[in-house]
Amino acid sequence: MARFIFLTIDGLATGAVYATFALSLVLIWRAARIVNFAQGAISVAAADVAWSVGSRVGGWWLGLLLAPLVGALLGVLMQRFTVRRLGPERHLDAIIVAIGVAMVVQAVLGMVFGLQYRPLPAPVSQTVLTVGGVPTLSPYKLLVLGAVALLVVGLALLFSRTAVGLRLRASALAPEVSRLLGVEVERMTTLAWGLATGVGAFAAMLVLPTGPGLHPTAMDGVFITAFTAAVLGGLDSPVGAVVGGFAVGLVLNYVTGYTDEPNLAPVALLGLLLAVLLVRPNGIFAGPTIRRA
């Protein structure tokens, strides 16, 4: 029982990061119908830059503030100079371009920072607290959960309560009508990209202290897992991304923890994905499909 509790709590903590990253993927999807394959590389680059500053002054906290800004900037640059030139129909080409951007970013990071892991220490203790003899979470992971909760609430408020949020949603859902109504759709799309890559960078700053450290490929695993989570939950659904992220975190932990065979975890993930998509081809939380006359 204690093991189950530990695996569950630990799984939720890692799942929180997947949820955040999945959310960033969903943001771009809703805005532009593109899966941004460069999301992982951009978030590492942002974390690298933020930590270059933070390691000298301000520590991890400053890094946490800087990373989303740098990530947003990189996302905006990417969108303006590459994806936007493709136009709205070339979704496949957008994936290729994103892969190309990811390669360039990772290569540049490798040239500038080298290919060894560079430690990114956590701002608070990572010693796991035990409650009644059961190991639960470390103060740092509590911090991560809190930050993720704040972010999710913040985004929800942004989209549902603010004028900007409404414009963002309108531009994603009905660009032509929005344009007619005076919304600057192109600017909103760029804003959505920046927001999404900023969120991804935020997730990177949260998760990297729990791993071996900074490395050009450090977020590749998170990207793939988060993408899976977003697909599971439904690419159109922010709620789905969050639920999918936590679900994936739990599944990975349970499979690794109860079968003693970590190679089964990716296989289990495939099985879960196929099972869900067979029943709900657009993810768990997708709205019903609508046929139009």
Binding site: R3, D10, L115, Q116, Y117, P121, Q126, T127, V128, G211
Partner: protein
């Protein structure tokens, strides 16, 4: 089409040599240098992970080149300069296929030396055999390089994982009676071979085995399982980044067993760099080794390597990767010397199989006509006050059923100019 011509020349030369060898008559035919060997140079090649997930080993190649440059400055081997070509395969076996073929077919090397990586080198074993290219001193601890019947040109260098595991198991059997010994290993051949060796040396299975895959850095479930099982000694067959993860995670869970790590993942400098401020977690880490430790400047071999690195390398410090690289290069020079001026592929193989090479290693090589395994054992090491040092005697054994025995020969001293005497 050079290959069939070369093959024909080789066949002719070999046939003539065989025909003449049983008698004392001098062979009448002139010596035909094999591919990669000329009057003035001998070409060697290697594939290394200069980039990619294993790039922490990238200084091995640099060290090899530095040592060969040093030898060249002193006249080379048998009057031939060593031309050493390094190609990056990014630790990707598909790239290894490409670069090794380039080395053999375009750059026409005589031999491949110190190919690094288990999955990468596995990809080219058969190709090198088909092309009859000597495949010397593979930089990996897998047991596959020791198959003289199947791959006559391939020789290992490192102590293989099973042998190393046996020594660790033997040490634990002697020192840790009453402890609960568990294992945390990479879920592949490296991990499994090492743990199998540990269990053989221990004479009993470990209490609990947990494993990891490189694509998931969250090892908390596994570490917590080890903790719940009450393990007091945990044997690690991990790569450096995962050694760091285990040490950190265990500390976060307030789980403090004795850790005993395979040499593949216990390099103090490498793991320490990943741990950063958590470096103190390495305190007390036990491991093994078979070469001088880089942080021991009193060792005459380290001093020699530092000198050579200063002159021909990147001006950095000697680390354990440099020690491995230069040791491979040193052994290569010894083998080339022994093979003689009129070097041939078969001659080289026979020269290595004679064995008995003495160099920086703490234990002997296992080279013989029936064994192409490299180093045959090691010594236990421990991290004390931030420094990794050997303790106790050296041990030798093999990957099979030979017992673990002490090896008491004193270490060899480097030759004055750093060049082995033939």
């Amino acid at each position: 089409m050079r290959r069939p011509i070369r093959a024909a020349a080789l066949v002719t030369a070999a046939a003539l040599v065989v025909a003449c060898s049983p008698t004392d008559q001098p062979s009448p035919e002139p010596y035909v240098p094999p591919r990669g060997v000329t009057e003035t140079e001998i070409r060697l090649g290697t594939h290394q992970p200069l980039t990619g997930p294993a790039s922490s080993y990238s200084r091995v190649a640099l060290a090899m080149k530095a040592y060969f440059d040093h030898v060249n400055a002193h006249g080379g081997v048998h009057g031939r300069q060593i031309v050493f070509l390094i190609k990056d395969d990014g630790y990707n076996p598909a790239n290894t296929q490409t670069v090794v073929r380039e080395l053999v077919e375009q750059d026409e090397v005589f031999a491949i030396v110190g190919g690094l990586g288990t999955p990468t080198h596995s990809a080219v074993l058969d190709y090198l055999k088909e092309e009859q290219v000597p495949d010397l001193f593979v930089a990996s601890g897998a047991g596959s390089w020791n198959q003289p019947a199947r791959y006559p040109g391939t020789f290992g260098f490192q102590t293989d994982y099973t042998t190393e595991g046996k020594i660790v198991g033997h040490y634990l059997a002697e020192e840790s009676a009453g402890e609960t010994v568990c294992a945390f290993h990479q879920d592949d051949d490296f991990g499994r071979e090492f743990v199998a060796g540990v269990e053989a040396g221990l004479g009993a299975p470990v209490a609990l085995r947990q494993s990891y895959i490189p694509t998931n850095t969250n090892v908390a479930p596994q570490v917590q399982a080890l903790q719940s099982a009450g393990c007091t000694v945990v044997v690690l067959a991990t790569l450096p980044s995962f050694t760091a993860q285990v040490l950190r995670t265990a500390d976060q869970l307030s789980f403090r067993p004795h850790f005993v790590a395979s040499t593949a993942g216990s390099d103090y400098a490498t793991v320490g760099a990943i741990l950063g401020v958590d470096k103190a977690l390495l305190e007390g880490l036990i491991s093994t080794g078979y070469l001088p430790i880089a942080t021991n400047p009193d060792d005459p071999w380290i001093a020699l390597f530092q000198q050579i690195l200063d002159e021909y390398g990147d001006g950095g410090e000697v680390d354990n990767n440099v020690v491995v690289g230069m040791s491979i290069a040193y052994l290569t020079v010894q083998a080339l010397q022994r093979a003689g001026r009129e070097i041939t592929v078969d001659g080289l193989i026979a020269a290595i199989e004679e064995g008995g090479f003495r160099g920086p290693g703490l234990v002997p090589f296992a080279f013989s006509p029936t064994s192409h395994a490299g180093y045959s054992g090691g010594r236990m090491s421990k991290v004390t006050n931030g420094k990794q040092d050997y303790f106790g005697p050296a041990y030798v054994t093999d990957a099979g059923s030979a017992p673990v025995t002490e090896y008491t020969e004193p270490a060899a001293v480097p030759p004055p100019d750093g060049i082995p005497t033939p």
